[in-house]
Amino acid sequence: MTRRLIAGAALALLAAGAAAAQDGQIAITTYGGAFGEALNESLVKPFTQETGIGATMIDNDDPPAKLKAEVEAGNVTSAIYDVEQSDVIALCDEGLIEPIDPTILQAGADGSAAADDYLPQALHDCATAIMVWSTVIAYDTEAFPDATPATVADFFDLEKFPGKRGIIKRPKYALEFALLGDGVAPDQVYEVLSTPEGVDRAFAKLDTIKDQVVWWEAGAQAPQLLADKEVAMTLAYNGRIFDAIVGESKPFAFVWDGANLDMDYWVVPRGAPDMEAAMEFIAYASNPQRQADLSKYIAYGPPRKSAAASVGTYKDGATDMKPYLPTTPENAEKALVNDAGFWADHGSELTERFNSWLAGS
């Protein structure tokens, strides 16, 4: 009797699963938290309303690891994953994610083709960008009553802007930033950094402020160091500083010069159960208006240029988001787009050199 019940229940579940797949029910795995919530409000709910395809959000601390495990076990549960740029490269190289046909993406708000409208590196063979976040200079406005830092060079100018500096303890960011501070144009940074002389130049620039640097590792440390007045100026993730300014009314400000742009991406795992619905979702997510809507909930910018104009206010209805987004044209003008490919090639070598340099004080 019991056995029959179980069998019956299992059958019913199977049937329900099949029905769900037919209706186009997809699961979306993201890093969750405030970002997952923002995605749900701005993108997933409207998607379900317009297409009738149900979508479930799944939170995960490490989506790339889950994706890898699922594909290798042949049991893919989520049709869509949110992963970071460096993971896109590794997952695509290992053949764990599906190529995405760029022709499915919608045209820009100004009618431009997707390929021209997306930021450099926002489109990849196997992925399309979700949003742009950035590492920027943030400073305590009370620390410099007389002058306002405006450039990366000011970050390295200890005479004009005295005080400790906070930098993330990784060669990524630190070296790129040093070259920008030494006058290298953003689009030349990786070219210079791929030569031994360029690396020496970056370290030489870092040497000029080495004894004034507080190195931090976790994203939360940067606003904390500023709030404690342990540093006067620091590199920080723009979302965290936005929260400190708008949420906690801290006297902080940004410098957008030399901002380091990085992106999160949508990917579809190999052998996803609902490939068609997944691609439909990705096409939908390329809608410029939807991308701009994300900024209503979180201080990340849309990955395509034509979407920037549609950005409105924060969810409090009062704060204009444009000054806080890495993608707003005035802000993005002198930004550097982080090249995950470069770091996949040179990361370990530069990390060793960086650690050796750090230790030799």
């Binding site: 053949g95 490919g341 996949a344 090639d345 370990s348 070598e349 530069l350 050796s356």
Partner: protein, 432 residues
């Protein structure tokens, strides 16, 4: 006769005298065998009782450590995906100029690997030895999928000149065997030159040997400081009347029970330049407002925070040993004319050695593997080798390198344990 004291043996002897044969049980089996069987059963039952623990230790401890150690010298990312070229390397000794057959093997392997989409794994493996080559493999992989025409040397060089680099071929030869010592070499700031000889890496790339030495030196220093600070406290705890020593014990245990992260962050609040200690010093006029001390984000911060966190591990074993020391020994020494210093040095202190040994070993081994505290308060000069291991685990994803560093650390600790056993004797260790 050893068995004379054993009553069973005595009975057996007497009984055998009576019957003239082996003693038997009620159902006629020889008693010796029945006894052996029942003992065997008892042993088996005891074994079954500890089996879950044994399985647990095996699964959660021995197997992962074994796998980690294996990773440090075994990496088949290249050899498993590039079989033909690996075969060519096996057939031709080092120094052979790659001929057209080698290039053909390379082209065939690259094509197969690109088809199977394993080229990223291959490139990553070579990238460990020759930085910048990962993308050479992946971009070439994309092109060879469209097909390659012989001669393959020219065809590949046409795609990218870098394929002719002797350094690349040397690295591919090294990687063509899955078993390699290269990660250990790298962990000792050594590398293999193109001709296969071992050399030191450039001075500005050297980091691990220095960090190993710093880790051991700081751990020794912290062990010494915890001893100097902990010894009087343990003594006080052991000799005060119970009521007051209990209170003192709580003061030792409370921080011990508090989370590591909380204690580390409290030190950040205390020690930073705008922190409590600096504020007090400025208020007292000891230092000027501009001359605030840098006590954190450097080695000083690491030493202070780690000493505080590891102090209970020194105090508790010392205390447990000191409580058992009979105070009349010292009194006897004094009454026989010893000064208090002599009595301490020759009577009291030697008796505390088992606790000191245990405390020192505990503190030192914990300090050697410390990670969170130096990561948070260490700045650039307070980093330890475990921070490097964590970086390779999570950032560069070079797990083989992390495994090699960890294996060296493990070997050093085992060596230390062995030295300790030879010098002090591990039997003298008393943990509580």
């Amino acid at each position: 006769m050893a068995n004379a004291l054993d009553p069973h043996a005595a009975i057996a002897t007497t009984a055998s005298g009576l019957t003239g044969g082996a003693l038997r049980t009620a159902d006629g089996r020889p008693l010796v065998r029945a006894l052996a069987r029942s003992q065997k059963r008892a042993r088996r039952r005891a074994f079954l009782l500890v089996l879950p623990l044994l399985a647990f230790v095996l699964i959660t401890f021995v197997v992962p450590i074994g796998q980690m150690l294996q990773r440090s010298f075994y990496n088949d990312g290249f050899s498993a995906n590039m079989p033909q070229l690996s075969q060519w390397f096996a057939d031709h000794p080092r120094g052979t100029e790659p001929d057209e057959a080698a290039w053909a093997a390379l082209a065939a392997d690259l094509t197969a690997s690109a088809e199977a989409r394993t080229i990223g794994v291959v490139g990553t493996r070579i990238n460990y030895d020759v930085p910048g080559t990962r993308s050479l493999f992946t971009s070439t992989g994309r092109q060879v999928r469209r097909g390659l025409e012989p001669p393959y040397r020219a065809a590949l060089l046409d795609i990218n000149d870098d394929w002719a680099e002797p350094r690349l071929w040397s690295a591919m030869r090294e990687a063509s065997r899955p078993v390699t010592g290269n990660f250990y070499l790298a962990a000792l700031d050594r590398s293999r030159a193109d001709d296969g000889s071992i050399q030191q890496v450039e001075p500005r790339q050297r980091v691990y040997v220095m960090l190993f030495m710093r880790t051991f030196w700081l751990s020794l220093l912290i062990t010494a400081i915890t001893f100097v600070l902990g010894f009087p406290i343990a003594h006080l705890l052991a000799t005060l009347p119970m009521r007051r020593s209990n209170l003192l014990m709580i003061l030792v245990l409370l921080p011990f029970w508090t989370s590591l992260l909380v204690r580390t962050t409290s030190w950040m609040v205390l020690l930073q330049q705008q922190g409590v200690i600096n504020d007090i010093l400025v208020w007292l006029g000891v230092i000027g407002g501009t001359g605030r001390l840098q006590m954190i984000y450097n080695q000083t911060g690491t030493i202070i925070a780690m000493t505080h966190i590891l102090l209970p591990f020194m105090i508790l074993p010392l205390y447990s040993v000191m409580r058992t020391i009979n105070p009349s020994y010292v009194r006897a020494a004094r009454s026989l004319g010893a000064t208090s210093w002599t009595a301490f040095r020759r009577v009291y202190f030697p008796q505390t050695l088992p606790g000191l040994g245990a405390g020192a070993l505990l503190v030192f081994i914990l300090a050697v593997g410390y990670y969170i505290t130096p990561a948070l308060v260490g700045g650039s000069s307070g980093q330890l080798i475990s921070n490097m291991i964590a970086m390779h685990m999570t950032d560069t994803l070079n797990w083989s390198m992390a495994a090699a560093l960890a294996a060296l650390l493990l070997a050093a600790v085992l060596l230390l344990y062995w030295v300790y056993d030879r010098m002090v004797g591990i039997d003298n260790l008393k943990l509580g």
